[in-house]
Symmetry: C2
Subunit: 370 residues, 2 copies
């Protein structure tokens, strides 16, 4: 096929699916990437972060990105790398934990954890001992305490659960993990909490946190694929080092070849926004989250499942299944969480007040039977 | 930082590292992606292949890509998905094998296999029973036959080894695998052999092959990240299905979020080149491979390790360590394989006759002590 026809065909196909700016995608954890971040990807689209001998420039960019994470997560000594997303980050963390303690097999995981933890456990034959949730949908600290044993390989906490945006009691869990690997899955909240006033602490200043997953392609506003895994100790990643006979270097990542473009785009996005930029983004998302909650409170038949910790809102709606179908019919990308029996709205930067007003209007009409 | 400064800084950093067109990168399995493939990535850079409800267009493109693989690999019934690269493909294959036969733990792996097989085994607690190589550096078929037992979960073969480009005896191994999962890692050779005259068969027409890894971002000439894993049976991927409570759909991939841009770029590249285009690419790479071998044969102190099956050449050179250092000093990206004691040249599309002539000239001078 000719180049021009290929591009035309792709543009036609893309045009049929929604854009974030259409104001209908309200259950996604991604948002529109910046044009210049896509341009950054393009500049490095021919590079491979695996080939450090050929592309030292990519290595330098990645080091600067990891150092920046060290700053926002309060430890300049961390090590880590840019993953393809949260799943690889969570797999890498538990893989390292397994290497550090090969005899242990059980991980304590809150029922609200991201599915990738289950995926990682399944891959690695780790046994999940599920931790109950308390009345605020947080990991129950008493349940964790009672379940920790000499079999425990790791404890997992989530900073920003997928269904309700809940922050597990990371500080309290930290105090239980003097001798246990503690992994915080902050894939979503890692780009929210460090930029929020009076936020609960989920960073490396808590001395028992061994690893943190934090995803630039979620609230970091970067394009996909761009996650990150960070380790407190520089020796940790060496536990998964592989040195192929035909390479003059070794690799400490779960994946092999890695997109230099993805790394360049993260570098571009975090350098553009910086600490102040992300603070503004988070402030606005949280204002809109509170606005959404206030609007919900005004309407009979709608209820906020719990006051949100961050910019994810669970909404109970009368006759949920019908309401869900009607919202989808009206073009909303919304998701229903079967566990909590609620609709999920992720108040990403593109979910602005006008979008929220439209949503509330439609919900009202649906409740009124229109 | 301002956008313009970010882009300028990135361009400066990129300019310091080599381009494929410089003619010095001769040990990489990647090549320069097409401009329109990067453009295709850009058009879909805001999409996520995980969110099939939001972006059905991406799902359609991926289906068309997998169907195309079905055509070149001779089975229209296959299932599969675009991975982030060969490692994820090999992990997914062995993960499915493990799910199909949870009681078995041992995999038979030729000593020349890609390091990601070791990585996958390590992740999943599979025991590798290493298969010896025969005098042609191929997996020894007698050794495989003697090692197959009721413990065997899977047999792995490589179609294009990383160090010497060797094709394992896939057809003979196939005949031993009536009741055993057989995975072919054709990450490199999958985009070579189907387009070559009189090539050994490595496709699904061999009825015991259960899965094939094939990487668009290697000889497929696509940008990174773009691998692929293919399964003979549509039920296989369902074995690793996860259905998160908060999603209205399930996911059958090892990774979670996946770049729609990567899928669009693969779609663009394969539709541009098509069967005839790849045949031309492979023909030229093989001509250049033979040219390189002929030039090597003319020079005292140089020797081709073995007549190459595909466009990877192992070169024995007198006093290899010195020669390797001298070549690196002269700006060559070349790799030394410690196992076979040889330098590795991958004759990618950018490794043209002038590049080969320069390399031979430098090798001659180094051998002459210049």
């Amino acid at each position: 096929m000719e180049k021009d026809r290929i591009i035309k065909r792709l543009k036609d196909i893309r045009a049929k699916d929604p854009k974030f700016s259409d104001g209908r995608i309200i259950a996604s954890v991604s948002t529109e990437p910046f044009d210049f971040a896509v341009e950054a990807f393009k500049i490095f689209s021919d590079t491979n972060a695996l080939d450090v001998n050929i592309f030292p420039g990519v290595k330098q960019l990645e080091r600067e990105v990891i150092d920046w994470f060290g700053t926002i997560l309060k430890n300049q000594m961390i090590d880590g790398y840019i993953t393809t997303g949260g799943t690889e980050g969570n797999v890498a963390a538990l893989f390292v934990a397994k290497k550090l303690n090969p005899g242990r097999r059980e991980i304590l995981v809150p029922e609200s954890a991201h599915y990738s933890i289950k995926r990682a456990a399944d891959l690695m034959d780790l046994k999940i001992n599920w931790v109950k949730l308390d009345e605020n949908f947080r990991a129950d600290i008493g349940d964790i305490e009672s379940k920790i044993s000499e079999k425990t390989l790791a404890v997992v906490a989530t900073a920003g659960t997928s269904s309700l945006g809940v922050i597990d009691p990371v500080e309290e869990i930290n105090s239980l993990c003097d001798d246990i690997f503690f992994h915080v899955d902050a894939a979503f909240g890692g780009f929210v909490l460090p930029f929020m006033e009076n936020a609960p602490c989920i960073d490396f200043s808590l001395e028992n946190i061994d690893s943190i997953t934090i995803d630039p392609h979620k609230m970091g506003m970067n394009l996909i694929p761009a996650g990150a895994i960070l380790f407190r100790d520089k020796s940790y990643l060496k536990k998964i080092k592989i040195s192929p006979s035909y390479l003059s270097f070794s690799t400490n990542t779960v994946s092999g070849s890695r997109s230099g473009g993805a790394i360049a785009s993260v570098w571009a996005t975090i350098n553009y926004l910086g600490f102040d930029g992300y603070r503004r983004v988070v402030k606005e998302c949280m204002e809109n989250t509170r606005f959404l909650c206030r609007e919900i409170d005004k309407i009979e038949g709608l209820e906020v499942v719990k006051k949100p910790d961050i910019n994810v809102v669970g909404i109970r709606i009368r006759d949920m299944e019908t309401a869900y179908s009607r919202l989808v019919e009206r073009g909303w990308d919304i998701l229903a969480d079967s566990r909590s029996g609620s609709l999920r709205v992720v108040v990403m930067p593109h979910v602005t007040k006008p979008v929220i007003r439209n949503l509330i209007k439609d919900m009202k009409e649906i409740l009124a039977g229109d």
